[in-house]
Symmetry: C2
Subunit: 136 residues, 2 copies
Amino acid sequence: MSNEIENLCAKKGVRLTDQRKLIAKVMAESEDHPDVDELHKRVTKIDNKISIATVYRTVKLFEEAGIVSKHDFKGNKSRYEQAPEEHHDHLIDINTGEIIEFVNEDIEKLQNEVAEKLGYKLVDHRLELYGSKIKK
Amino acid sequence: MSNEIENLCAKKGVRLTDQRKLIAKVMAESEDHPDVDELHKRVTKIDNKISIATVYRTVKLFEEAGIVSKHDFKGNKSRYEQAPEEHHDHLIDINTGEIIEFVNEDIEKLQNEVAEKLGYKLVDHRLELYGSKIKK
DNA sequence: ATAATTGCAAATGCTTTGCTTGTGA
DNA sequence: TCACAAGCAAAGCATTTGCAATTAT
């Protein structure tokens, strides 16, 4: 009955309230990258007393605990996804808003090389591709 | 007496007011990536009647005309730079906030390949590296 | 002349926060 | 029990906008 996010909360000593459990559940079941409003809509279907402030507080809490990842794509409000096992980047369909995840080791390696060459240790990065579907 | 940005405005049919000339001048002379507040501070030193609303309107106008580029780095307000001749990406020093520009053709090429492989035409992208200086 | 631009202040949209009541460990 | 969390409404912050006065062409 418990999900990955709940397990991580327990492990990290994050107190599990009904609201947090519900938000965790909804996030764990989301295949997309919902924003706070969308999350609030989804949890409200199950418990209509949860306030949007709680959703804001909870995603922030989860993010700080490394349980979820936050993304600020161009021109949108912040969107969230369960923190992935392995890093990936995103391609955003500029027509539909659809988000496709991808991994490219070569780019990752080159990023490290670039940073190093400039005298920096790479701590974090952001790579987003914006494109339109090629019709066949 | 006129700068690159003023020339571009003329070419694009953007009406040149005193305020816009001044903002163009300040942007053209900026080596860094100032935000709107900082731009407002800089123009105010020369003309203290310019309102922040005008700065907002002007950077937006310039951006839509392709004259300046807007960047939303992590955790900061929007920052602007004169639109570069040739594309570059940014490395942000997470300790000082300093921004270093770089170009890497290999990464650019790989981005196109990734998009293509996913069935997309790459229209735009965002690549930001966040790092800390390696002390020697 | 007159359509576009400015300055000001008010409005917006997303997010955070203070405070009182409620609750998980 | 009691420190912490939730709900609500108010505040915050960056940015946008309505409107009357001003200005570039």
